[in-house]
């Protein structure tokens, strides 16, 4: 089943007289349960492509379909609601809410979805245990290491039961040990629970773990390799 489908997706940035085509006619299809890395050098258009797939950036041309729903015509509020229900995000800099504990951070997205307190508590504890943070429920982000914070971010992304997870350079700020642990967790979730992951990365450790590698350069897909 196709979860993500882009057709001739383009993004043109205009700055005064300067025009930059960040993404140039990308057509991509991601199926349920894939563990895909979009790779390429800095400025190749990876993040812009991910932003458009995630409904965070406006599309200049082409289309994005998520589980059969075209998101091009959605307004800002509809997109926010769509993201909440369908997409999990993991950011490079973790971006946890600093005033909430690890458990509260995971619960927060479920709160936005209107899930009951009991359900929120149960699922957040389960997810944090799954990512190996069973002893860090009540710890705030500033008391966690980078790797631990990113694991909380993964738990948060999974908490809303999204159709897929978009992870933008998730290991860029992590050391080898933390990267390895985080990748193991995500790979295990992908394998056991068939959760779809889509990364943008230029980290070889992520590339090594991915089962499909889409290489992008100057906004265009130059190779699409399935392992």
């Amino acid at each position: 089943m196709e979860i993500i489908k882009t057709k001739n997706l383009s993004k043109l940035y205009k700055n005064n007289e300067l025009e930059v085509l960040a993404v140039d006619g990308v057509s991509l299809s991601i199926r349920q349960g894939e563990f895909t890395a979009i790779v390429g050098p800095s400025g190749s258009g990876k993040t812009t492509l991910l932003n458009m797939i995630g409904g965070l950036d406006a599309i200049s041309d082409g289309s994005v379909e998520i589980a059969g729903t075209n998101i091009n015509s959605m307004n800002e509020n509809e997109l926010i609601d769509f993201r909440l229900k369908n997409i999990g995000f993991v950011f490079q800099a973790y971006n946890l809410i600093p005033v909430l504990t690890a458990k509260e951070n995971v619960e927060f997205i479920m709160l936005l979805q209107g899930i009951s307190p009991e359900e929120r508590k149960k699922r957040s504890e389960e997810l944090l245990t799954q990512v190996g943070l069973e002893d860090k429920f009540n710890v705030r982000p500033n008391q966690l290491s980078g790797g631990q914070q990113q694991r909380v971010a993964v738990a948060r992304a999974l908490a809303s039961r999204p159709r897929f997870i978009l992870a933008d350079e998730p290991t860029a700020n992590l050391d080898s040990q933390s990267t390895s642990k985080l990748l193991d967790i995500m790979a295990e979730m992908n394998k056991k629970e068939n959760i779809t992951f889509l990364f943008s990365t230029h980290d070889q450790r992520v590339i090594d773990k991915a089962r499909r590698i889409v290489t992008i350069e100057d906004g265009k897909i130059i190779s699409d390799e399935v392992r």
Partner: protein, 405 residues
């Protein structure tokens, strides 16, 4: 809402010093506002009370034409029947019948135009506090005829002392010139220097003997309280159709007008204080939004809709005020409680205060409703001050959270 409150509360304390400075400015602003208001109300109340207690009383009754030109021929008709009505009126605590004339007071050195007020010493004691304002001599405690009480300012002007002789000259009802020699038996000092300079008190019996008629121009009434005055006035107006019944507000409209002007000014003062606070709050919240733009962008990226982001910023702003405002009100209430008992000594500017009918010590006073008014004002102004930072937050792009950091 509980989580929004929790996040907002914790966000406030992410930069404790900055939040404490804003909260401190709210506390000080509200405290200062309440205190200024209470001080001004105290000032005005003192002026009103002083005028009522020392001269005008709560209600006055005259011949319908007397107050047009203050002519001596317009005397109160049927004073006995009038006294009977006043005796039976529940709202009347005390009354005093007065004779009022304009004339000259002459000392061997100088003369001065004055209003001569003929009083019954015991009746007057129940209505005004003139007897307590005697600074030298006595309040008509003499068996001699033609005793007179004059103000300290007038005594100084005429260069007379206790037991000095002065001559009063005035017209009777037929416009004949009447003169009488009086001896100063008491010197009084009210809070209003001008009043002391222009009014003298003699006893009705002496005045009636000189005028060869027993007539009165004014009945001064004291109600049980200031709040009862309106009701008593209405009641008397309906019973005394042939008389001119007026309450203190109509007798001395400048006092009532001062109340209204004061209220307008105080309202403006509070608005100015609140405007100053608004800018402080807006500045703080803008800084908070700017510092957290990536976090707010992330919240929108993961699915927090705009109304919830708006509510978060609004809640943070409200919490800043809700911590500051009650503390400011409490501090204000405490200050007023203390100073309303001890008073604020302004004797350094005492002369200036007395020239406008005020004492040296001011007792701040405030209506409890004012705290409710402040609460509403703070709430409304906080809502206003939250709008701009919230709108700024809503303009943030979620992509910022992903692109940067």
């Amino acid at each position: 809402m509980k989580t929004t409150l929790k996040i907002a509360w914790r966000n406030i304390w992410r930069t404790p010093l900055r939040s404490l400075i804003v909260i401190g400015s709210i506390v000080l602003g509200i405290w200062a506002g309440i205190f200024v208001v209470a001080f001004c109300y105290g000032l005005n109340k003192q002026r009103t009370t002083s005028s009522i207690e020392s001269a005008i009383s709560h209600i006055q009754i005259h011949h319908p034409e007397f107050r047009q030109n203050f002519e001596g021929k317009f005397v109160l008709e049927e004073p006995k029947a009038l006294k009977e009505t006043l005796e039976n009126e529940e709202g009347v605590k005390a009354y005093a019948f007065r004779s009022l004339l304009f004339g000259m007071i002459n000392s061997p050195i100088k003369s001065n135009g004055v209003q001569i007020i003929g009083v019954h010493k015991d009746e007057e004691k129940k209505v005004t506090n003139l007897h307590s304002k005697i600074t030298a001599g006595t309040y008509f405690e003499t068996k001699r005829k033609n005793a007179i009480l004059i103000g300290e300012a007038l005594a100084e002007k005429l260069k007379v002392r206790l037991r000095s002789k002065v001559v009063l000259t005035f017209q009777d009802q037929e416009n004949n010139i009447i003169s009488g020699a009086f001896r100063v038996c008491g010197i009084f000092k009210t809070q209003y220097t001008k009043y002391d300079e222009n009014h003298v008190f003699i006893q009705n019996k002496d005045l009636h003997r000189l005028l060869k008629t027993e007539s009165y121009h004014q009945a001064a009434l004291l109600s049980h309280s200031l709040e009862d005055v309106d009701e008593t006035t209405h009641s008397l107006e309906s019973k005394l159709k042939n008389y001119d019944v007026k309450d203190w507000k109509r007798i001395s409209p400048e006092l009532a007008y001062a109340d209204e002007v004061m209220e307008t000014w105080l309202f403006l003062i509070m608005i100015i204080i609140m405007l100053a606070l608004i800018f402080g709050i807006i500045n703080t919240m803008l800084m908070a939004v700017f510092e957290r733009r990536k976090e707010l962008g992330m919240l929108m990226a993961i699915g927090m809709n705009k109304s919830k982001v708006f509510m978060l910023i609004l809640t943070e702003t409200l919490l800043l005020s809700l911590v500051g405002a009650p503390s400011g009100m409490l501090l204000g209430a405490l200050t007023i409680k203390i100073t309303s008992q001890t008073g604020i000594d302004l004797s350094v500017v005492g002369d200036g205060l007395q020239s406008v009918g005020l004492g040296n010590i001011i007792y701040p006073v405030i209506d409890p409703w004012f705290y409710a008014f402040i609460s509403i004002l703070v709430f409304v102004f906080t809502l206003i001050s939250a709008i701009y930072p919230s709108k700024k937050a809503l303009k943030l792009k979620p992509t910022e959270a992903i692109r940067t950091l």
